[in-house]
Symmetry: C2
Subunit: 204 residues, 2 copies
């Protein structure tokens, strides 16, 4: 990162678009990119681990973090609160590490306020039909819940103008390559590479 | 390109940095990216073909193109003129194709005037020593000419603040991947993808 503070990438997507799968692969395969772990008041789902998938906290703890300014952003979705811890973000950026924030569209809007340089990426499904098929094939939610999710997906999709980049998750490999390209290209921006160029120039 | 006009990528680099090799591979492997063929008044080198490497024209023809506004940019380097034909650029962009302009740093500055949305990429050698080794190993130029090129390279490197992206050509594969990422990421910018997002949204 050449002495610069790191980059913040915000990834949002309607439920069922494949965001988690892609985000996990990205932080695994791209060097110096770490995943921000959110705080949430919702209960862990089967297979989820505290401190890995989320920091699971109770409402009182979460509310205290809000009051003391300990969150970069937070939102309430389906009656549960989700937020990004400020301390974790600051420490990573100061160390020149890039971070990936997996954030709901509501929360993403708030990130602009605290992290104006964040690179905003919106992952979108190739079509309503395809998203509907994917949600059903997961077999996780009852039909009524799926309809709620589709309606909410439409609501979220309307937020696309707030993002810097739009990635269509048609095939997973293509979407992965797109996301990786955004991360790599961001690191090559002149304002990030100026120190390197200056150092090379001084060798002449 | 979804109805948008295409993107213009400008690639500049000091002589010997590997620009031609990388540019050729880029237009060969990235779909819908075409190479702009420049007009020049210099004589063809061994192996160069008219209409493929350059359009080789005489001074009178080149001067007529300048006078009639037929060039997007032009420069004079080492006593020879180089320029990009306006007609070719306009036709490609209108067809939604992306184009890659291989342009000297002087000319790149002028492109901003006629093509303000151009994505400016500067390829830089990893060090003065490495560039010097590469120029000598080509065995094409006498030692005095190499010193002129190194001095000119330093002069060109000072132009880096005018570019959007800086790519260090340390290893060819890494530099290629960097360039490809810049092209792919540019195509994913919201202003280019808005029509696609709107169409998907309307299906909900």
């Amino acid at each position: 990162m050449n002495g610069h503070s790191g980059n913040v990438f915000v990834l949002s997507a309607p439920s069922g678009t494949g965001k988690s799968t892609l985000a996990k692969r990205l932080v695994k395969d791209v060097p110096d990119l770490d995943f921000s772990i959110s705080f949430t008041t919702r209960a862990p789902r089967a297979g989820e681990t505290d401190g890995k998938d989320y920091f699971f906290v109770d409402d009182a703890t979460f509310d205290r973090m809000i009051r003391t300014g300990g969150l970069v952003e937070w939102v309430e979705v389906y009656g549960h609160k989700y937020g990004t811890g400020k301390e974790w973000v600051s420490a990573h950026l100061a160390a020149g590490k890039d971070i990936l924030l997996d954030i709901e569209t509501q929360g993403a809007r708030n990130v602009h306020g605290t992290l104006p340089d964040a690179v905003m990426i919106f992952l979108i499904p190739p079509s309503a039909e395809e998203l509907s098929n994917r949600l059903r094939s997961r077999g996780r939610d009852p039909e009524a819940e799926i309809q709620v999710r589709l309606d909410y997906a439409k609501h979220e999709l309307c937020e696309y103008p707030a993002y810097d980049y739009l990635v269509v998750n048609d095939t997973l490999d293509r979407a992965y390559r797109d996301l990786e390209s955004i991360v790599l290209a961001t690191r090559l921006r002149r304002e990030r590479m100026g120190d390197t160029a200056q150092r090379i120039l001084e060798g002449f």
